[in-house]
């Protein structure tokens, strides 16, 4: 029964789309049916307004299309149909209503413009300066209609908020809000569970193995600076590795490719040794700068790994082409290897060559996972809300795109209502 209802609903939606499309198709003329005189009749109702909610450097122009301008489908164009108005000439003057005007754009309407019967164009201008605009419909060859012109000067003003990023702001508020809400709920005692992450469970095992073998632990925090969030996440895991090493009395070596990462890592390891009650065991010379140069860094690390043969290698941070060289070298010396990165292109290499890999979000969840603090675990729950929103957006977007294709195939109208919604989703919300 439910399946039938679902099927009926889908069919109904398709029928709605088709009906809308048929009405829209009636509104669209095919230029192939009639040629117009040269030059075309002018556009009409030109207006210029300050672009709402921007930095004050844009003005929106709107005008009704020339009566001679009509939609020519791609199929008709292939068959030789010619548009009576190939494009519109848009001119701007910052000197006065009498000009001189200079070309700022030559723009052709798209199918959505034909559906509305009007066009919109956003022009870049200087903030606070007056501008006048005029538009002419271009005909075949060099001919063009009379210009229509704005009567008043338009001035772009800066607003307090960038409206073009409004949807992003909303999504940010929802995501951050859910993270903050769950952190607060966790502080109030909400019960939270996190699935086991094998890579993080293996930290103790790896450090323990190094201790047993009497060899060092090598920690590589990637090749990016401290302004990269992956480096911050890597340093977070270093704190745990260093604390475990301090407890087991193992040596942790951290060669870095950035000076700031070196100083941060020193602070982190020193605090970890202090927290473990072994401040005397801390040796800052084990955390040192090598070079900023990618392959110079790799050459040093590869040589050092082959010579000193650390028992455990951690690769936590942002990696590029060096990921596989490091992981394969570590593999060749028999070290237990744990990697974590948010570089999707490097994940397959780490998965192939390391014993454990923290894939994407697991890497960022490490801090919460290792600390076990309720407020940090709450942030993971907040992330789940984000995943739900993304999943819903994916589902809705796929439905719109699929239905738009079906309607296009059945009615031949690509500017149908589902395509409009899909366009709104991709061009406005996710721009």
């Amino acid at each position: 029964m439910k399946r039938k209802e679902l099927l009926a609903a889908c069919m109904g939606l398709i029928a709605l789309g088709s009906a809308t499309a048929a009405l829209e198709a009636m509104a669209l003329q095919d230029a192939a049916t009639g040629q117009v005189a040269d030059p075309p009749r002018p556009a009409s109702s030109l207006t210029a307004e300050d672009h709402p909610l921007d930095g004050g450097n844009q003005i929106d122009l709107r005008w009704n299309l020339s009566p001679d301008d009509s939609y020519v489908s791609a199929k008709a164009r292939k068959e030789g149909a010619v548009k009576a108005v190939p494009h519109y000439v848009v001119q701007k003057s910052g000197k006065g209503a009498t000009g001189p005007f200079e070309d700022v754009s030559r723009i052709a309407p798209d199918i959505w413009d034909y559906q509305r019967g009007s066009m919109k164009l956003t022009i870049e201008v200087e903030r606070g300066e007056p501008y006048w605009f005029r538009v002419a419909a271009a005909g075949p060859g060099t001919s063009k209609s009379e210009f229509i012109q704005t009567t008043e000067a338009t001035v772009a003003q800066r607003e307090w908020f960038d409206g073009g990023r409004g949807w992003l702001a909303l999504i940010t508020v929802v995501l951050c809000g859910s993270v903050v809400t769950y952190i607060a709920a966790a502080r109030r005692g909400m019960d939270l569970k996190v699935r086991k992450i094998a890579g993080l469970e293996a930290v103790d095992e790896a450090v323990g193995r190094a201790t047993e073998m009497g060899r060092s632990v090598l920690f590589i925090p990637g090749i990016q600076d401290m302004n990269d969030i992956q480096t911050v996440a890597g340093i977070t895991i270093l704190a745990r590795v260093a604390r475990t090493a301090a407890e087991y009395d193992a040596k942790v070596e951290v060669p870095t490719s950035r000076s700031l990462v070196m100083t941060t890592a020193r602070e982190t390891v020193q605090a970890a040794f202090l927290a473990a009650g072994r401040p005397d065991a801390y040796n800052e010379d084990n955390i040192y700068y090598v070079t900023d140069e990618q392959f110079g860094y790799v050459a040093y690390l590869s040589g050092m790994m082959v010579r000193e043969k650390p028992a455990a290698c951690f690769y936590m941070g942002s990696f590029f082409a060096e990921s596989l060289i490091l992981a394969e070298t570590g593999n060749s010396i028999g070290a237990i290897q744990v990697a974590g990165t948010a570089q999707p292109a490097q994940l397959p290499f780490f998965v192939a060559a390391c014993d454990y890999t923290l894939i994407g979000e697991e890497f960022f969840a490490a801090s919460a996972y290792l600390s076990g603090e309720p407020e940090q675990l709450g942030s993971l729950k907040g992330q789940d809300v984000g995943k739900l929103i993304v999943a819903a957006g994916l589902l809705i977007g796929c439905c719109f795109a699929t239905l738009a294709s079906i309607v296009f195939m059945t009615s031949g109208n690509e500017a149908n209502v589902f395509a409009a919604w899909a366009r709104f989703l991709t061009d406005t919300i996710l721009q």
Binding site: G55, K95, G96, T98, G99, P100, F101, R127, G128, E129, E159, W160, D162, R165, C176, V179, D225, I229, A233, I235, T236, A239, R240, R258, S259, T263, T264, T268, V269, A271, A275, Y288, Y289, T291, G296, A299, S302, G303, R307, A321, L324, I325, A327, E328, A342, P344, A352, G360, E361, F364, S367, S371, E373, E375, Q376, S379, Q383, G386, K387, V390
Partner: protein
């Protein structure tokens, strides 16, 4: 406190960046925050360098295992630091040197009042309160009460353009144009300049005694006089270069004789004062010394071919190539078309003052351009002169232009088009070299034949090289340390190109072998998932090779989707994209959550401990 301060800095910096992204008025805050990070990172680099020295010195001193590598690292570090910091061998920056000009220091306040140009006009207000362009702030002034604007010194074209772009109104632009014209009245044809940001008076080319006197007339101030005299004395310096291989008969044309002197017997070229770019161009490609190649008719071609045959054998293929090369030469009709095109009436830009006058006259549709003037077609007499020129008459190209002018209307645009035509088409030396290259492609030429065809070009190249060397030698270097440390030919560049880059490329090349060893382990078919992975990898690998296409090309169109190259595309675009996007979404959410925790101070573990 040790933890609180970094937390505060992080939180404030992070929130500033977020706010700057959404609120236009605070956009610059984000830029400032980013600059602060760069400053911090630069300072930290010194820390890193110091640490590197300490670690490796200690390792070498203690003779720890691998200390030899430390010694090499230290030596390389010090060597690169030395050649990089000293900019050893790096030429000064071209955009800082003002080639062809002589500088003498002069404070803006010391510019004489006689150099202040004033015209009627008002500085317009801008709603965004933008400052005047930095290039004119020192020299430009305005008097709102008197309704005048003034400029101290000679306004340069870039300063004029900066002022024009300050406001678009025709009234302002016209006032700027008038100020520009007035300020340059005493600039001796634009050769005298003042650079406020360099605090220097400048003179382009050699300053003659007349030029000096004209400048001294502007003011009797002692500082001004001393500055002008300083430039005059320095611009009398004579510089010379030796140019071997020049024909002894080579003479400088009369119009360049004042700019430079050539002693062709000794092969020495000399110039007084700095050489300007225009002088370098005029000397380097001179039609009187290296004449334009005219199209050769059959008689001349036969003569040249016979001359070459007289020096050695020429094959039938070489003869064909010889004629093909000469067939590509310019023709009389090409020159005629060029001059006819240049004679057509062209639209010309109006000045801002012309447009402003139209505005005041009440014209409602002001155009940017003037209507095109009448066409100036070539007459029969012109065509006759062109034909004679093509056949080899008028060795003196100036005489050709004079003949064209004498035969009827011949505009300056047409004259310019002719000189451009001369510049674009090959000289006799260039034509002969082209013949030599084409003949050598078809067969051998003996030494005598090569010398016959290339001697003219050799002299031309030697001459241009000599002119270039003289241009650099005659220059008075102003900022010797301004060059790019990685400039081509410097020791730093050499070390970077021939030591550093091959070494890093070697490291990168090792990746190919590591990929093979990792793939061997990853694709071992020990269970169902691994078998699927192996199968997919096999399809992708095959699909990216020619073999893949060849293996399944036989499949009919009805099942063409099963062809390996199409399966590869399907796997990469659908399955691979879906998987990587899922990971990307998780990463994006993780980054947002982690950033928020860091900003709010919930996660302090990157500082070493959650506790204060």
């Amino acid at each position: 406190m040790k933890r609180t301060v970094p937390l505060l800095i992080t939180a404030i910096g992070g929130f500033v960046l977020i706010v700057a992204y959404f609120i236009p008025a605070t956009e610059s805050w984000g830029e400032v925050a980013a600059i602060w990070f760069d400053v911090l990172a630069s300072v930290a680099f010194i820390l890193g360098g110091g640490n590197l020295l300490r670690v490796h010195l200690q390792k070498a001193s203690d003779r720890k295992p691998g200390w030899g590598y430390s010694v090499i690292t230290l030596l390389a570090f010090i060597l690169m630091l030395f050649v990089g910091l000293t900019k050893w061998g790096a030429p000064p920056a071209v955009n800082q040197e003002f080639y062809g000009e002589t500088f003498a220091e002069l404070a803006p306040a010391s510019l004489p009042d006689g150099l202040v140009a004033t015209v009627e006009g008002r500085l317009p207000q801008r709603q965004d309160h933008r400052w005047l362009p930095a290039s004119v702030r020192v020299q430009f002034s305005h008097d709102p009460l008197a309704g005048t604007i003034s400029f101290r010194g000679w306004m340069r074209p870039n300063q004029r353009n900066d002022l024009l772009s300050y406001k678009e109104t025709l009234e302002w632009r016209c006032a700027v144009e008038r100020l520009y014209t007035k300020s340059r009245e005493s600039s001796l044809g634009g050769r005298a300049s003042y650079y406020a940001d360099h605090r220097s008076l400048s003179f382009r080319g050699r300053m003659s005694a007349e030029d000096r006197d004209a400048l001294l007339k502007i003011s009797g101030d002692s500082q001004w006089t001393a500055t002008v005299n300083s430039i005059y004395e320095r611009s009398q310096r004579v510089t010379s270069v030796d140019i071997p291989g020049l024909p002894p008969t080579l003479r400088l044309p009369d119009d360049l004789a004042g700019a430079a002197n050539l002693d062709s017997q000794r092969g020495r070229l000399e110039i007084t004062g700095p050489m300007t770019a225009a002088q370098r161009e005029a000397l380097g490609r001179n039609w009187q010394m290296f004449p334009l190649a005219r199209p050769l008719d059959s008689a001349h071609r036969a003569a040249l071919l016979d001359e070459l045959r007289g020096l050695g054998p020429i094959t039938a293929e070489q003869e064909t190539a010889f004629h093909k090369t000469l067939d590509g030469s310019w023709t009389a009709s090409l020159l005629r078309t060029t001059l006819e095109e240049a004679g057509k009436g062209q639209e010309q830009d109006k000045t801002n003052c012309e447009m402003f006058a139209e505005l005041q006259a009440g014209i409602t549709d002001i155009k940017l351009k003037k209507p095109p003037g009448p066409d100036v077609p070539l007459t029969e007499a012109h065509v006759g002169i062109i034909n004679r020129f093509t056949e080899g008459e008028f060795e003196d190209l100036v005489a050709f232009v004079a003949a064209m002018k004498g035969a009827g209307d011949f505009t300056s645009r047409q004259e310019d088009a002719f000189w451009t035509f001369v510049e674009k088409n090959p000289t006799v030396g260039e034509r002969d070299r082209e013949i030599a290259v084409r003949l050598l492609r078809e067969g051998p030429l003996n030494a005598a034949q090569r010398d016959r065809l290339l001697s003219e070009m050799r002299a031309q190249v030697a001459w241009r090289k000599g002119v270039g060397e003289l241009f650099v030698a005659a220059h008075d270097v102003k900022y010797p340390w301004s060059g790019e440390y990685r400039a081509q030919g410097t020791p730093f560049w050499w070390l970077y190109e021939y030591a550093f880059k091959p070494l890093t490329a070697t490291m990168f090349a090792m990746l190919a072998f590591y990929v093979a060893s990792a793939a061997f382990r990853a694709f071992r078919a020990k269970n169902l998932e691994a078998t699927l992975l192996l199968g997919t990898a096999f399809i992708i690998l095959l699909g990216r090779t020619f073999a893949g296409v060849w293996l399944t090309a036989w499949l009919p169109d009805a099942v063409s989707g099963l062809r390996i190259e199409k399966l590869t595309v399907l796997i990469m675009q659908v399955f691979n994209t879906a998987g990587s996007r899922a990971i990307m979404i998780g990463i994006a959410l993780g980054i947002a959550s982690t950033s928020l925790k860091v900003l709010l101070g919930v996660d302090r573990s990157y500082l070493g401990s959650a506790e204060e």
